[in-house]
Symmetry: C2
Subunit: 370 residues, 2 copies
């Protein structure tokens, strides 16, 4: 939602800046009327997380806690918040950006020594608090993540606003085999045109490359999003936008083990740790293609035995509200029963083309996508 | 060195195929003349690694060991090698490719059950053996790595041969802020034109983004290569080609800790584990920019104390032939003395522009690059 080169985006920047300054103004007003300054934020514990059935995502409940300057510790927290707000407001004014880590180090240059962050957890936590209280995401503060997003390949033409001007890029014709690299803030992207029928998010690089080599994106008008394991914020954000703005089905294709189901969960439902971002990052309509425990049996795939940690993770998923459907209960119970897991690339035991000629077409047809 | 769409590259493919078939033919000839088939390979232990002073890289010494079919275990190994050679030769003929993991799973479909790999270490090891014996790299067998390369940004125009035809890409004007994604096999790239004065390999994403945001690539005609931590083969290979073919200085900019010095070492000298690849992947002329222990002192950077594992790693570097220069001995001893390490982004404690306005220009001037 932010960019320097474009007027709609400028409004987002101004909005983010205003909300930050409102927070600082509140401290000022509290001082002015003789009150001890304080900031109220939702309690961020597991007990204050509720599943919003309508939106299909996790959000914070009603409980709040108060950061008050009535103790030295609390006063220091608000001092740090004020410095951080000043820095972020100036950064937005100048159309610049920075990383969480840079913010931590930069605090060393702040005049009041009491305002220096003692470790990076503290500055990360403060930025999360500011996100929650202001209702503006970190990306709109122009805080860049350290981890970069992954890549796209498929029949999509987009325009990216860069600091050096606009770039119009077709994600098949204008890129190499590596694909289009998702920028840190994918809200600088406008979708121009596409022939995409569905989005396929793929966990591993080996499988992503197999699909591209076999021309699956071309043959099935599919946009392949590489998740690169647990997906970065930028990858989840662009996936959500592809669904919401282009009305595209989002399918998730991972290894067949409990950690990969969590990858699906983070695309579809968001994480408990960042429930305030669910509406910005999660795609509740995303659907799981496989590898399903059922596939392991049906296709007699090469497997590894479940480790104890796998069994524990599966059992914890059985009681996780995000995996409460009949489908997931059945699959997870089947996996606990067969005591096996399989990787995406295990499909190669039936030949390199099995995944694109048989497995995916069959699964996608079954799911009504083809 | 391999591609389907271009005639020079086709020769490389044919050459790789011929060398593989030569290996199998040798087994045939041995059978034919009544000898027990065998394969001789350099011994791959630390004691058989020598530092080639001229090339500045690690290579295997003269000792060899023999895989012979005179035992069931040895015969099985040669059987697996024969199947793998057949698979690779066909793959090259068809202009296809696959991953190491796919090869492992694919062996399940081979007729002789004795030829199935029992785990992935075994198939990985076999491919390394074939690389060494044939003198052809894995990339030329069309084996793709699982890990993808990183990105380039700077005044370089290149042509990539993709399966879908040629792509001409300028690594500033035709890419988004994420940059150009290096393909798995960078030997499909031809360098067309450039205004690059030097290559700067950068360890972290946060610092890479800082340099791009500040326009360092533009202001200094610098090609920024993101290493993404320990660099993938594709990243090291393209760095070497940039040095060798375009005669560009290669500078490496990392965090100031022993693990980052190893990242520098892997760019510059290659690793002991894959000494047969040093001449293909290592850039012995690469130079270390920083963060130097000296910088920690001179710029009074925010630091973390050395952990015990850091101290051990530094001490092991002191006795590592790759770090035997006066420069490295001095820096490592200084670091053991001050007992501190610092990250690249710690430079932000002096402001977000310090790295591009002062630190890098001063260091690069000192090193004679500017």
């Amino acid at each position: 939602m932010s960019d320097t080169a474009n007027s709609t985006a400028k409004t987002d920047e101004e909005r983010a800046r205003e909300r930050l300054i409102d927070l600082a103004a509140k401290f000022y007003d509290q001082f002015d009327s003789g009150d001890v300054p304080e900031m109220e934020i939702p309690t961020r514990t597991k007990s204050n997380i509720v599943f919003d059935e309508d939106a299909g995502v996790w959000v914070y409940g009603d409980r709040t806690s108060t950061r008050s300057a009535n103790s030295v510790r609390g006063a220091r927290k608000l001092l740090k918040a004020s410095y951080a707000i000043e820095f972020l407001a100036r950064q937005l004014e100048e159309g610049r950006s920075s990383t969480l880590r840079e913010l931590y180090y930069l605090s060393e240059s702040w005049e009041a020594e009491e305002a220096h962050f003692s470790d990076q957890d503290e500055s990360n936590q403060l930025i999360e608090d500011l996100e929650i209280v202001s209702g503006v995401t970190r990306e709109d503060f122009h805080m860049r993540p350290e981890e970069s997003g992954a890549t796209l390949m498929g029949p999509l033409e987009l325009r990216e606003q860069t600091r050096r001007g606009e770039r119009e890029i077709h994600c098949q014709k204008d890129v190499g085999e590596g694909g289009y690299q998702i920028p840190n803030n994918p809200d600088t992207i406008d979708f121009l045109d596409h022939d995409v029928d569905f989005v396929l998010c793929v966990e591993t690089g080996g499988m992503r490359d197999r699909l591209i080599e076999n021309g699956f994106d071309d043959d099935y008008n599919c946009l392949v999003v590489h998740l690169k394991g647990q997906p970065a914020r930028a990858t989840r954000r662009i996936t959500k936008r592809l669904h919401d703005e282009l009305d595209l089905p989002v399918m998730v294709f991972t290894d067949g083990d409990p950690w990969s189901y969590r990858i699906f969960g983070s695309v579809a439902y968001g994480s408990i740790k960042s429930a305030h971002l669910s509406e910005y990052l999660a795609t509740p309509q995303a659907r799981f293609v496989g590898i399903q425990p059922e596939d392991i049996v049906e296709y007699d795939l090469p497997t590894d035995p479940l480790a104890d940690s796998d069994v524990n993770a599966l059992e914890s998923e059985l009681s996780d509200p995000r995996f409460q459907s009949d489908y997931w209960t059945e699959q997870i119970e089947l996996q606990l029963d067969i005591e096996k897991k399989a990787e995406q690339q295990a499909l190669a035991s039936r030949g390199l083309d099995f995944v694109t000629d048989e497995y995916l077409p069959a699964r996608l047809d079954e799911m009504g996508v083809l």
